[in-house]
Amino acid sequence: MNSYLDFEKPIAEIEGKIRELRHLSGDGGLNIVEEVARLQGKVDRTLRQTYARLTPWQKALVARHPERPHCLDYVAALVQDFTPLAGDRKFGEDRAVIGGLGRFRGRAIMLIGQEKGRDTAERVTHNFGMPNPEGYRKAVRLMRLAERFGLPVVTLVDTPGAYPGIGAEERGQAEAIARSIETCLDLRVPIVSIVIGEGGSGGAIALATANKVLMLEHAIYSVISPEGCASILWRSAEHAQEAAEALKLTSEDLLKLGVIDEIIGEPLGGAHRAPADAISSVGEALERSLSELRGVAGGDLRSRRRQKVLAIGQKTLG
C-alpha cells in the first residue's frame, strides 16, 4: 500500500505508526505484538467506518485508485490459456481494449475489456483506458467471432470514456460505439459485463449492454464524469462533489434503478487493499452469471437481453 486517498489520511497515520513500530522493534527486539494488534484493530475499524459511508465523490476516487486491479490483473488471475487477439481489420490495433480467447473455470470464453495501464509507460500504451474507434470495432469483431463458435462473451468495463481526439472523430468514434451497442444487442451468445472501475459514459455502455451487468461495490457508472457534469451545469469543475452526488453513479443507486443486476462486494477498504480477494469475488460472481445463462437458446438470449434493456426505467429512486 503506497498511495492513500485524501479521505484515507487517518488510516495512513495509523499504518505509519505500525510501520514505525516494526522498524524500531527490528533494532531492539521490543515486544510490539500487542501494540501492533491494537493499532491494526483501529485501522480495520476506521476502514470499516469510512468505507461503509463513502460519498459518491469518494467512490469516484476509489474507482480510479491507481492500485485498483485492472482488466489485465483479472485476466492473469481468472483466465487460463489467455490468447490475446489484436486489431479491428480496418485500421489499427487499439490497446485500450484488450480482447482474446481464454478459458474461465475450464470453459472457453471471449474476454473483452478496457485497460488503463499501471505505470506511465503502460498508461500511454493503453491510452489511459480511453478507446479509439478501433477498440470498439475490434470488440465488434471479437463478439461476432465468439458468436460463430458459441462462446460466451465477458466484458470488463473500466474507462474514463471514449477518447476525444481528431483522428477518433474522423474515423467515426460515434459510429463505432453505436455499432458496438448494436452488436451487443444482436448476439446469440451470453454476454456478461462487469464494471470493475470507472464506467465512463458511451465509452462504457458500448461494452456494457449485456444479459447480466455486474458492478463492483465501489465502482462508478455514469452518463458523464462528475467533473464534466460540474463544468457544464455548475460552470466549474470544482463542483464535482455535488455533481457526483446528483448523478446517482454508485452501484447501490444503479441497482435500485435496475441498470445493473448485481453488486459484487469489495474487500474491506476497497479492491486496491486486497486485489486478490476482489478478483476472486469477481470470479465467483462471473461463474454464477455464466452458469445461469448456460444452455439458454441463442434467440432467447438475444430477446431477453433486448427486453431487459427496454424495461430499464420502470424502477426509479422514488
Binding site: P164, E170, P190, V223, L249, V296, V309
Partner: protein
Amino acid sequence: MSWLERFARPKVRALFRKDDIPEKLWEKCPACEQMIFHRELEAQMRVCPHCGHHMRIDARTRLSQLFDDGAFQTIELPAVPVDPLRFRDRKRYPDRLREAQGASTLADAIIVAHGKLGGHQTVIAASEFSFMGGSMGMAVGEALVAAARLATLQEAPLIVIPASGGARMQEGVLSLVQMARTTVAIEELREAGLPYIVVLTDPTTGGVTASFAMIGDIAIAEPGAMIGFAGARVIEETIRQQLPAGFQKAEYLLDHGMLDMVVHRHKLRETLTRVIDLLMTAPRSADVVAYPRTGLDIPAQPRA
C-alpha cells in the same frame, strides 16, 4: 378525403398560422451577417439566400417542410417517470423541464409524426433543439421506441432527424441507457424489413450520435451541420492542438466516409421521396424470410 382528414387538416394548419406573424421583419444571417427579409427567409426554408447557410429550424417547421402539403399527425409522447433521480444542480430539474415545456408547448425534446411523404406513409421523429438542447432522456428514448413501433405497425419507413447535444445529464445513467434502448427499437424496425433513414442536422453530438443517429440505413446530413461524438472544446483541451478547418462539419464527415450524402434543405424532401421510392419498391422481406433456409444453418448455441 375522409371525414377524419377534413377534420384534422384545418387543425394542423391552424397550428402554423401563428408562426405567420413575424416577430421581426428582418433577420441577420449568423454566417454572412447579411440582413434577410422574413418572407424571403421563410420562402427559402430558412436557408440564407446570400451564403447558403442552413439556419436551425424547429421540429414543427421541419415536419411541415417534409410531409406532403405540410400535413401530418403527431402522436402523444408516451409517459415516463419525471425526474427519476431527483436531480438538482443550480436549479431543480423539474423546473428546467417546466420552463422548456412552457417555452415550446412540447412535452419533451422531440416530435413524432406520421403522414404521407411523396405519397408513402412515413413516420418522422424530429428533435427540438430549443428544448434543453434536444437532449435525450427517458422521454426522447421512449418516443423513439414508439416511433419505430408505429412505423412497424404502419409498414412505413422511419425517418429520424436529430438535433441534439447528446444525453440529458439530469437523468444520469437512465439517459445513457437510452443509447441501448433506441438501438433495440431500430433493430426491431430493421428486422421488420423497413428502411431507417437519418437526417443529421446542426448540431448532433454525444450519446445521440453514438447510438441511433449513426446507424441509419441511409445517412443524410444538412450542409454545414456540426456532427461529432466529443465536443470541439473537449477535444482541444485534451490534445492541446488546433482543430482542422471544417472539423466535424457535415462535409468533413462525408469526406471521411461517415455519411451517404449532404443534401441542401431545398432538395431534402425530393431526396427522401426518391430514396423511399427506391427502397420500398421490392416486395418487403422481413428478417425471418430474408435468408433462404438450407437446412444446414443451425442457430448459434452457447457451447456447454
